[in-house]
């Protein structure tokens, strides 16, 4: 059921959604999306452009963030806008964690705007594969 406008508060944080990214995931995403860039499949190619190995598609990480949003919203058709910046690579075996927080609420349209992001831990530091994301959703 779609989350109701009256049940959402400013600053409210979405429950996090975590996923450990495997080579099988990335191959399946390349096949399903049609993005066959070898940067996501061939370690040699990835190293030649300065990465330490194959990286996940940015869009794979964005899709994961979308799953997190839909889980919170309770309605896969209620996402009206999503804008993200990809700011760190995701290597195979790393765990991405999606989350977000309600930034504004519009009682006239019953829509909410959320700040959204995806983090991962690498060498004791928090990296942001997605930072400064913005989502707009239609509440019930």
């Amino acid at each position: 059921m779609t989350r109701r406008f009256e049940d959402v508060t400013l600053g409210e944080q979405m429950p996090t959604l975590a996923k450990t990214v495997t080579r099988e995931d990335v191959n399946a995403y390349a096949d399903a999306s049609g993005d066959q860039n070898s940067l996501h499949q061939d370690d040699e190619v990835a190293r030649s452009v300065g990465f330490s190995g194959v990286i996940a598609h940015g869009m794979f990480t964005m899709a994961h963030l979308t799953s997190c949003l839909i889980g919170w919203l309770g309605d896969p058709t209620g996402l009206t806008r999503l804008r993200v910046q990809f700011r760190a690579p995701v290597y195979m075996g790393e765990t991405i964690v999606a989350s977000g927080a309600v930034r504004s609420l519009d009682p006239d349209t019953r829509r909410a705007v959320l700040d959204v992001w995806v983090t991962l831990e690498r060498d004791g530091r928090t990296e942001f594969p997605i930072r400064r994301g913005e989502a707009e959703v239609q509440l019930a």
């Binding site: 399903a32 300065g50 940015g58 058709t77 999503l82």
Partner: protein, 130 residues
């Protein structure tokens, strides 16, 4: 890249939303397959935009050096299985800065009635030699 290609419209692509494709995409992104994942629109977007940009010899995009920097979707309505979409992409901008090249593609996806379904904007970086 060739900056003169800025403003180029690529040929419209017809894209039929098939159940098998949607469930394959849903599995790949970890959804349960009971709905069309909103980012399924990436598949038609790539078929009209990125695929034609990569094949555009005059543009000269080195795909293996391409990294995604920003992405935006604005949905007018959700995509449904059985939709027959018309997808058209334009090279919105080409820039060079600090040894890297920047390409933005804008894609409009409409349904069979000509009504807008989603507008996508994809910003790519072509990494210089490192």
């Amino acid at each position: 890249m060739n900056p003169a290609r800025e403003g180029t419209w690529y040929a419209p692509v017809r894209f039929e939303v098939r159940e098998e494709h949607v469930s394959r995409f849903a599995r790949a992104v970890g959804d349960d397959g009971s709905f069309v994942p909103p980012t399924f629109v990436t598949a038609p977007e790539i078929s009209a935009g990125l695929a034609q940009a990569v094949a555009d010899a005059e543009l000269g995009l080195d795909f293996a050096r391409v990294v995604h920097s920003e992405q935006e979707y604005e949905w007018s309505r959700p995509v449904r299985v059985g939709d027959v979409l018309e997808v058209v992409s334009q090279v919105e901008s080409i820039r060079t800065k600090g040894g890297h090249e920047f390409l933005t593609l804008r894609t409009e996806i409409r349904d069979a009635d000509g009504d807008l379904v989603v507008v996508a904007r994809s910003s790519l970086v072509v990494r210089g030699n490192t």
